[in-house]
Symmetry: C2
Subunit: 518 residues, 2 copies
């Protein structure tokens, strides 16, 4: 006769009695306390023991049989399954090494070597006034319109919601993007060259999978966008940093020999904000011809050009098909949309589509359908007009406040985008320190490393550069934020500020080239 | 005096006159027909020549100056910029090799070697009756509820739409998933171990980046899901196929030595549909201890268990932390959502989160917020109950029709999921041929390769196996579809069928083990 089972039933938890019984018996078997072939109590007995209904026991036994833990022998009873591997059970119970003498190996090691870039703010405290870089104004999101469009697209969706979508993206969205790029960026492409992705970051992954393995040579701006540098690094690339000055990437310092990729931000250099000059654009395309490199143009915030017509993209100059163009809706609509696109030279269209298919079978249908409708209806153009005006005012307000409190200030990146950089004077605390001091006053300002910039051998630049995003802050907050910084700096320099190393004031070439606003 | 510019203005296109003028002059410069330093006509002259307003010419000139093509010399005139690199211009015009003698290199080669798996149906014709595998019923999508929830989440979103979201996923969604996995799959995990991804396919990429490089050993079912096999292959893995039979993967044939990963579908083997037996589950976990491998459990369609209680996942047996569990909402709600998740052993949580950050900064906020609300409100549980009933009826209808038309049929994978496999008799045309014949009659049925199965050395299995998805077809269509197939097969065998190679009828072990439904 089987002994009573050592089972505890807890009537206070939310787990059903049947589930508890199932789990307890299963655990007895897996921990080898109930051995293979041993008999279980009859259901009648067990329900008496536990004070539960017979049905509860019957259903638990049934499930244990279905999952292979128990077996019935007609007219005899219910038993722990005969053929369960005893070694496994003892191993599960943590009692023995494997009987056959083989050792338990350490799990296979990670081959991944990488570090995350810092765009997500979650770990940081919420600051009352935060000059975050590259964030759209929260109240600019077209909530009402988006609700309506979503309802409409859902109504018309039919099987599109349950089916797999074209991994290259919804055709009408690709068409809308291609049509937008002509007037907006001077790029003439067909919808077929447009691949919809989850943002520039995902686009960079697709490019890395296409071209990068151990020791692939990748030229990159210095300083550069961290998300790109860390990504290529994680694929094993050899990064070749090229310094930037006020005309953007210094083409004269591009590496010789074969190079696979050059990553750059020609419209509004990240992080410093300079625009790549026409002369250098042409030289860069020449260099691509000599080095064999594809040029990766990350046009992250080019929707905001504060003066004159929109600037033609580097891609618009590209007659040899060497430019891979990346665009995003993270800056123009919202980062949480996770929608962007890449424009590919013909020969890369199919390989990139294959990588995207293998990666995640494409972007969600509904988000694409809503965005396509938003662009096609003219809603996107209106939205851009509206926020451009807002961001221009905020930029002007920020510049004015900086002048008001600090007199002549050295700023760059004013022509466009959503942030500017400020070369702080030599008698200020260095930038990382100033950032910490401001944070204590509830103001978020960013030195290059915390502003998601990749900096190599740029200590002096790091010490003297502050990034100020203005797009997500109202003018009242901008005024208050700059006033608080002024109070920190102008107040008798605290002990912390006093230890500023004056050697940091000798600026290197790229920093010295900052200009003051006209 | 500068000559007249060879410019054509077209008044019939939608491009503005100013844009046309800008483009034409820019093209003259880039093609080196207007050389550096050459003078441009005065605006007054040019507007006379072209018959456009002076303002149009002024604005075009202004933009060309802003972009660096032209420069003004006060009181003298407007000129093509002096310092433009002539070599570049000539190169752009396609006229000369680089003057400095360096050759133009071929673009850097692709390092990517991969092929896309076939889940997207876009390239194929629309068939009136399509037994597609693994597609939810199109009319099952909760359209109205989704509209309402989206509107509500948008209303409450505040800065969540414009900010970057936690790359690991929205915490309340991770919590809802963790809570769901206890009762549904017998898995006890914290929200912190759940990583939200774009579906199982993306999860596999994250795993590949963590563990796979050139010649990493990856065990895989044979036949297996194509999307997994092709993916690991594209990362350079050495695939080690392990045959399956009616108890699932044959543990006795697992490879020896160190192995990094084993990919499998224990609940409903893809493509054949078997459930991995408890004995083998335990043996597999032992093997993981000996080989050092992580077991990747792809639980793609486990929400549908047609008999008894839900089956405990392999992860539910895992006390040593060797199982990485993958789940998806593609099968339970809709593939176009692109939402799934992975459950990670503690030590992989941070590395996987880093990979996901570098990959695409996480999933869209709105989709996650709506899904979390759907689960938390009980809507998901109701939805599952409803469609489970529907799919069970459809499965029963399909089995009944097969019996009716073909007598005793050998089916597998009936216990759960959204498709079954049919071992067709030896006197039928082989499966790929039957598939083509059915297609001509407007009926989609799938042999293993077109059903997104990876098959290596399984010619006989391929010849005799047909996959039939039933979840997206109404009962009327199921009846008509099977009747049409019966007409094809029962009709005097056509010339095409007559050439069937009888050698294909000798089935290999795994195919011979198919069982007939009870």
């Amino acid at each position: 006769m089987p002994a009573q089972l050592p089972i505890q039933i807890d009537r206070r938890t939310r787990t059903t009695l049947q589930d508890q019984l199932f789990n307890e018996i299963r655990q007895l078997i897996l921990s080898s306390r109930l051995r293979p072939c041993s008999a279980l109590p009859a259901t009648r007995e067990l329900c008496g023991q536990l004070g539960v209904s017979r049905n509860t026991v019957l259903l638990a036994y049934e499930r244990l049989i279905a999952e292979g833990y128990l077996e019935t022998r007609p007219a005899i009873g219910t038993f722990v399954t005969t053929h369960l591997p005893e070694d496994s059970l003892l191993l599960q119970a943590g009692r023995v090494a494997l009987k056959d003498g083989t050792a338990v190996r350490k799990r296979c090691p990670l081959v991944f070597r990488g570090r995350p870039h810092g765009v997500y703010n979650g770990g940081r405290e919420q600051l009352p006034i935060d000059f975050k870089v590259g964030r759209p104004a929260p109240d600019s999101f077209p909530v009402k319109r988006w609700s309506q469009m979503t309802a409409e697209q859902l109504r018309l969706a039919s099987e599109n919601l349950t089916e797999y979508t074209d991994p290259a993206g919804l055709h009408r969205l690709r068409k809308a993007i291609a049509d937008h790029l002509g007037p907006a960026r001077g790029i003439t492409v067909s919808a077929e060259q447009v691949l919809v992705v989850a943002g520039c970051q995902e686009a960079l992954n697709i490019i890395a999978r296409l071209f990068v393995h151990e020791r692939t040579r990748v030229a990159i701006e210095c300083p550069a966008y961290q998300g790109a540098a860390y990504l290529f690094e994680s694929y094993g690339a050899e990064l070749l940093p090229v310094p930037v000055d006020t005309e953007g990437l210094q083409t004269s310092r591009l590496p010789g020999g074969e190079v696979s990729l050059a990553y750059l931000t020609p419209s509004h250099q990240y992080p410093l904000g300079h625009t790549l000059s026409l002369k250098r654009r042409l030289e860069l395309i020449d260099w691509a011809g000599r080095s064999g490199a594809y040029l990766v143009e990350d046009d992250y915030d080019s929707d905001f050009r504060h003066h004159g017509s929109p600037l033609t993209a580097l891609k618009g100059l590209d007659h040899s098909g060497c430019v891979i163009y990346l665009g995003t809706f993270s800056k123009s609509i919202g980062a949480a949309l996770r929608l962007g696109y890449m424009v590919l030279p013909e020969e890369l269209v199919e390989p990139a589509r294959t990588v995207k298919t293998l990666l995640n079978n494409g972007q969600p249908w509904l988000d694409q359908a809503v965005l396509a409708a938003f662009i096609a209806s003219g809603g996107f153009a209106n939205h851009l007009r509206r926020i451009r005006r807002t961001y221009l005012h905020r930029r002007d307000c920020l510049v004015e406040q900086l002048h008001k409190h600090f007199g002549e200030v050295h700023l760059s990146g004013l022509e466009g985008g959503m942030h500017l950089t400020w070369r702080i004077p030599g008698d200020f605390p260095d930038a990382p320190r100033l950032e910490r001091m401001a944070r204590k006053e509830g103001v978020g300002i960013y030195s290059l490393p915390t502003g998601a910039a990749y900096c190599k051998d740029t200590d002096e630049l790091v010490a003297r550069t502050i990034m100020l995003g203005y797009s997500s802050l109202g003018e009242v907050s901008i005024k208050e934020g700059i006033a608080r910084i002024a109070r920190i700096v102008v107040a008798p320099l605290s002990e912390e500020a006093a230890v500023t190393d004056s050697s940091l004031c000798s600026l290197n070439q790229s920093a010295a080239d900052y200009r003051s606003p006209a």
